[in-house]
Amino acid sequence: MLAAVLDYLQDLPLANWVRSSPSIFAYTTVLTAHAVGLAIVVGVNTIIGLRLLGVAQGIPLAGLRRLYGLVWIGFSINLVSGLLLFIAEPHAMAAMVAFWAKLMFVAIGMIVAELLQRLYFTDAASVQAGLVTRVGRNLAIISLVSWYLALIVGRLTGYPDMVNRWLGLSVGST
């Protein structure tokens, strides 16, 4: 079932273009966009996390919240570029432990971003007073940890054989 879906994605004309076109706008630009999106998402979430943990306290919390607009831009870039990179090599990607771990950490990061908005940034009294609540601090820590883990395991997708060896898994052929 999964194999059939992966086959279908792999054979899409768009997938074929990303994978095989010699154009600079195909695989290489998509890959670069993914790096830029990563830097935006991780970098801006770093600012938000550091501020909530006490760095750069001059940043008004209401102003800080507006930076989530940048997070969404970065995330959108990476959702699109990530889907294109996935359909270009669906079997290889789906076989990687690091890929699924990365998706999990990205999902945690985005859920925590949403929780921060709902459980902390909507607390107008605290935000106005410049007060970071315990909930805000704890979510900031989870956010930073999950984004940097996402970055680390994301980079490991370039080394599937090494990861499998570390995990004691047999090296799957793709």
């Binding site: 790096a35 990563l38 830097a39 970098g43 550091l50 760095v55 209401a62 102003g63």
Partner: protein, 171 residues
């Protein structure tokens, strides 16, 4: 060029990279962390100077700059590991158009930063209050910084696909 490449190929570093398979991926991760800190912090500062997020006083972002500097130093060090330790030899980087362009844009970003500091623009920018506008010249410097850093990532990522760039440029 050959001489420079020979000088930049450090056999001890090559041996170290070859002996431990974790060295290269760990340096890549560090390089990505530095990239994120620079783009996140310097990019946000650039956007604020250009007029976005006006509710944030520009000076409030200043305590974050050392974090970006730490990221840059990490990238300089890991970059040195890549160039000196690759099994292909430093010649791979020296002769690589993507790498050459990356270095050029790094130097331009550095020159841009020096202009920002010695022209007095930096002082004017940090004196801009919440809701205030930075000087037009500072906005131009920030726009240049933003474009330069994105191009630095672009050409850095293109290193491994230099043939695609050469084909695109028709050279």
């Amino acid at each position: 060029m050959e001489g420079i490449a020979q000088f930049l190929t450090v056999q001890g570093m090559q041996a170290f990279v070859n002996a431990h398979e974790w060295v290269w991926p760990v340096c890549e991760m560090t390089h990505y962390v530095g990239m994120s800190l620079i783009i996140g912090i310097i990019g946000t500062l650039d956007l604020r100077i250009m007029g976005l997020f006006k509710s944030i006083p520009i000076a409030a972002l200043r305590p974050l700059v050392p974090w970006a500097v730490v990221g840059f130093i990490g990238n300089l060090l890991t970059g040195i590991v890549f160039v000196t330790g690759t099994s292909s030899g430093a010649i791979f980087y020296i002769n690589n158009l993507s790498f050459q362009l990356k270095v050029i844009f790094l130097l331009l970003a550095f020159a841009n930063l020096v202009i920002f500091q010695i022209s007095g623009l930096e002082r004017a920018v940090y004196a801009t209050p919440a809701g205030g506008n930075a000087p037009a010249a500072a906005k131009a410097v920030s726009a240049f910084s933003l474009v330069a850093w994105v191009l630095i990532i672009f050409f850095g990522r293109m290193l491994m696909y230099n043939d695609t760039l050469l084909l695109f440029l028709g050279v």
